[in-house]
Amino acid sequence: MNMMLTTRNLTKTVKLPEQSLTILSEVSLTVNEHDSVAIVGASGSGKSTLLSLLAGLDTPSEGEVELAGRPIHKLSEDERAAVRAQYVGFVFQSFHLLPGLTALENVMLPIELKEEKNPQNKAKELLVKVGLAERLNHYPHQLSGGEQQRVAIARAFASDPKILFADEPTGNLDTGNGEKIIDLIFNLNQQLGTTLVLVTHDDRLAERCQRLVRLEAGKVVEDSVNPAQVIKTDTTQEDKVETA
């Protein structure tokens, strides 16, 4: 199986006036293609920092990150942005839709950035998949929280990402909507064969992943495999190959 994401001794320190503070310390991880990994830990354990480094939103103080074979710790801002456009999708806790664009336009944006043809058709298709066929031309403020997150998910998958990063995707939602969103992410993930890295507090969410990485004070203290999920996913993959 191909490696999608590799880190070696990933460290992030910030300089304070008196001393320097280590937020993340020597994290080495490997995530294979089609894997789903949950990064868990208490507040301040460094989860979000790890996510930002993995996705190339930030650069490490030391260590290396390779995303889809590209050494993103060596790349410039714009080169990292190009990698993101090519390989990465995001789902955020606070949705981060562009309020000036309709649901459809929000989903079209990453497709347009990849300069693919017919962005509108593909975006419509995705919005239908997430159950928003009737809401294409609504603006974010006209949608409920759950609906907004579904738009965000459609947008995340719009660029055919190899890897999807999700930051507390259910954090701003009630239990019912949270469940639906979890289902949606995992279903699409399986259908489209995406690699999934998600940061969460939510045990239900973590349980659905094949692998669990636990951080404490910036260090990996647990890296375990969820056997049930591994088997399930593998079958799905095979199903997918057969149907394709």
């Binding site: 942005a81 456009a85 000036g100 990453p110 930051d167």
Partner: protein, 832 residues
């Protein structure tokens, strides 16, 4: 991607700051276009009007006949040319003689404006553009009185006789030649030769009147100038009305300044709104970056938005500006010269471009900032972009302002003053805002509950509060200054040209006639500006040396030394004169000193030109008698006061009373004009100069300038409102947030309202006070440095400005907050 900027612009239109940006930009462009076009059009139209004083766009005066090749060249260019021959001669009827100044017209005249020819003196006549027919003459009224003639009579002219065909009651050249002793008559050129009146040695001057479309005309003038010799003199249209020049130039400076100020104010509003726009868009830019947009792409996205805004805003501004200027031109058509000159597109294009310049200068740094946001902001809200160096922002804004100022005023000195003042002022204003705030806190401690809570709100973010006071204060300072300067200009003009400004001059009054004249005027209840004796004399020496040796070569060519001067003597300093150096003689007996030298007062600017000082002694030749005068004072003279003014004034006793004639000026309303007939009948040698027609024109010009000044104020006020609104918008979020917090904590609506209103009112008071102090200082500086007006304080505004500030900020601020305050707290929080 290409459509995205447009899509985003459409959506962002809903947000306040885009509207402010747009509105401010529109005002700036509208002001530049409307003012630029109106000043340009009226300027050119006034040029046309003053051409009417001259009778042409240009006159070329020459002691020899105008060369045929010049005439050919001019006519080739499609210009209208009329030649005339001027000389002095005597008209006679029976035993009566009158020396007259003849203009023999070789063609249609005047080329600009019209003659008003009547049948009888002092009545209204018919307007004509022509030349007298062969064998006929048009005369000034006093010729009729002197000769005892009337229309239709024949008069002797050289070897022939001419028929009086009309009386000139209005026409060109009336202003510039008011001290021409001989009355004017116009004849047909053909009669000159017939009368055989010009002999070798006669003093004759030839004048070519030139008129035509600008381009060929200016081409011709440019061609002509190098060919002229020193004895020939070219006069352009603008020099026709020197008395008005200062007023009009001052008005134009004011208009340009005002339009500039409205642009700069609009710039401030744009900067404030752009800052808020950019802060609100950090999140979106972070998402774009996160989704993989390159920095350059984000830049392009926002700069395109800025350009879309700039182009649409400028286009609407240009359209509105043109509509406004057209509306003004139509509305005030009666005051404006006819036909109105067409629009010149240069100021229109300049106005439209200035919109883009302002937008780029004031908004670009903020917009540029947006793309610099880190994509990490999607995870960490506190990530803000590295700020663009504030020096860069200020430098760009200052450079933009300087560029616009220079463009508008054309004066680097003015730009320097304004920039210097602006720079110092900004620091001082901020310091003052801080001081006022501190004093306000100290006083407010003793205030009511509402005041204390309002203060509490302001004290939570002191730096932000001081910025708000500074911005509001700045807007009030500029608005107040504009109002004050405008009032000052208007009242100055009114005092300069009051309704009863003298509109008639009488000269050549014999000393024996003075009592009679005083009686006649008193009977008519006419007040004079004083009756002054006048003696003509030539300056022959200075400090014992011949004048040619005593002064510089440049000074030798000064008109005052090359011709006879009008000299007078008076006891007291005349009206419209001010002693600025030395001392006026006291009222003791006037005796010459041991060397036979009398005291002399001289015009300050003439003294400057001749390089003389207090204590220098001039020698004059007056009717063959030598008189010496020692300079004891310099006077500043208000030359446009329409009363007799003199370069040199002697103390009484110095000049021979018997050699003097007297001069006076007075206001005579139309219904009293027949009194002039009485004067002419009883004192036939008196020369009457009627200025009432010219004065009417002067009044009209001032009226139209006044209207323009009033109108321009509106732009400044609108731009000021845009600043106030932008700042209120920019601070709205903080205000709503704290009000919502209070609400969440269970505060009553009434309490929240009271706190907010008290906060807004305090901001109003603080910035109003700042506006008053800053406005007074700025106006004083401008009065002294730019406009030469004595500074005064305006206590009336000390109360009004803070009151208006409180009212405006409370009403507008409350208006923006009202709807948000009525919504449930969680909805409000979601919108922020």
């Amino acid at each position: 991607m290409r459509g995205m900027a447009w899509r985003l612009f459409r959506r962002d239109w809903q947000s306040g700051e885009v509207k402010v940006l747009f509105f401010a930009l529109m005002i700036a462009v509208m002001a530049m276009v409307a003012i630029g076009t109106i000043t340009d059009r009226t300027h050119r139209a006034m040029g046309e009007q003053s051409s009417e004083f001259l009778g042409a766009d240009y006159t070329l005066r020459s002691p020899r006949a105008i060369e045929q090749s010049w005439l050919d060249k001019g006519r080739e260019g499609g210009l209208q040319l009329t030649e005339s021959t001027g000389f002095s001669t005597v008209l006679a009827k029976g035993d009566e003689f009158q020396l007259v100044s003849v203009t023999a017209l070789g063609g249609k005249f005047p080329l600009k404006g019209e003659f008003e020819i009547a049948d009888k003196p002092f009545t209204r006549g018919q307007n004509v553009q022509a030349q007298p027919e062969e064998g006929s003459v048009w005369v000034e009224p006093r010729v009729l009185a002197a000769l005892g003639a009337k229309k239709g009579d024949e008069v002797d002219f050289g070897s022939i006789q001419l028929t009086i065909a009309g009386v000139i009651v209005g026409g060109p050249g009336q202003a510039s030649e008011m001290f021409n002793v001989a009355p004017k008559v116009y004849i047909n050129e053909a009669d000159v030769e017939r009368a055989n009146i010009i002999q070798p040695g006669s003093r004759v001057s030839y004048t070519l009147f030139i008129a035509g479309d600008i381009q060929p005309r200016e081409n011709f003038i440019d061609w002509l100038k190098p060919q002229m010799n020193k004895t020939q003199r070219l006069t352009g249209g603008k020099e026709g009305t020197p008395a008005l020049q200062a007023s009009i130039e001052r008005a134009e400076t004011f208009l340009r300044l005002a339009s500039l100020i409205s642009v700069v104010l609009a710039g401030v509003a744009i900067a404030v709104a752009a800052g808020r726009f950019s802060r609100r868009h950090y999140d979106y830019a972070a998402i774009y970056r996160c989704l993989g947009m390159q920095i350059a792409q984000v830049h392009r996205l926002y700069i395109s938005q800025l350009l879309i805004m700039g182009l649409i805003g400028s286009a609407i501004g240009v359209a509105l500006g043109l509509m406004i200027q057209q509306a003004i031109i139509v509305q005030f058509a009666d005051f404006l010269p006819k036909p109105m000159v067409p629009i010149n597109w240069a100021p229109v294009i300049a106005g439209g471009l200035s919109g883009l310049v302002v937008l780029i200068g004031f908004a670009l740094p903020a917009f540029f900032q947006i793309a610099r946001v880190s994509p990490l902001r999607v995870l960490r809200k506190e990530m803000v972009p590295q700020p663009v160096s504030s020096w860069l922002i200020y430098l760009l804004a200052i450079f933009t302002m300087a560029l616009l100022m220079w463009w508008q005023s054309g004066s680097l000195k003015l730009v320097g003053i304004l920039l210097g003042v602006a720079l110092v002022a900004f620091i001082v204003i901020r310091l003052m805002a801080w001081l006022i705030f501190k004093v306000g806190i100290w006083i407010g401690k003793r205030g009511s509950t509402a005041v204390r809570y309002g203060l509490g709100q302001l004290k939570r973010y002191p730096a932000f509060t001081i910025s708000q006071i500074t911005a509001f204060g700045l807007a009030f300072i500029i608005m107040l200054s504009t109002v004050l300067i405008r009032s000052e200009l208007l009242s100055e003009w009114q005092s300069q040209l009051p309704d009863d400004a003298p509109n008639h001059f009488l000269i050549n009054v014999q000393p024996s006639e003075v009592p009679n004249l005083e009686n006649i005027l008193a009977e008519q209840n006419v007040e004079t500006a004083g009756i002054y004796p006048m003696v003509r004399g030539r300056v022959t020496g200075l400090n014992g040396k011949p004048i040619e040796e005593a002064v510089s070569e440049e000074a030798q060519n000064d008109g005052s030394l090359r011709r006879e001067l009008n000299l007078t003597w008076v006891e007291d300093v005349p009206k419209a004169n001010e002693v600025v150096k030395g001392e006026w003689w006291d009222n003791a007996e006037h005796q010459p000193d041991e060397n036979g030298v009398y005291q002399l007062s001289i015009d300050q600017s003439l003294a400057g030109r001749l390089g003389v000082d207090i204590g220098d002694v001039f020698e004059f030749s007056i009717g063959g008698v030598d008189v010496k005068g020692k300079i004891t004072s310099f006077r500043e003279i208000q030359w446009d006061s329409f009363q007799p003014n003199f370069f040199m004034i002697f103390e009484p006793g110095a000049l021979d009373e018997n050699m003097a004639t007297y001069i006076t000026s007075f206001y005579l309303p139309l219904d009293k004009k027949p009194a002039l007939n009485t004067i002419l009948r009883e004192m036939p040698t008196v020369t009457i100069i009627e200025l009432d027609v010219i004065m009417e024109q002067v009044q009209t010009i001032l009226d139209q300038v006044t209207t323009a000044v009033e109108f321009i104020m509106l732009f400044v006020l609108l731009a000021g409102v845009a600043v106030l609104y932008a700042v209120l918008q920019a601070s709205k979020e903080e205000r709503v947030l704290s009000a919502t917090l209070l609400k969440t904590l269970g505060a009553q609506k009434k309490f929240i309202r009271m706190t907010l209103l008290s906060e807004l009112a305090l901001l109003g008071i603080f910035s109003g006070i700042l506006g008053v102090i800053g406005g007074e200082v700025l106006v004083s500086v401008l009065y002294q440095e730019a406009m030469n007006i004595e500074p005064v304080l305006h206590p009336w505004f000390w109360l009004w400005v803070p009151l208006i500030a409180v009212a405006f900020i409370c009403i507008a601020g409350w208006w923006g907050l009202k709807s948000l305050l009525n919504q449930p707290a969680h909805q409000v929080l979601r919108q922020l």
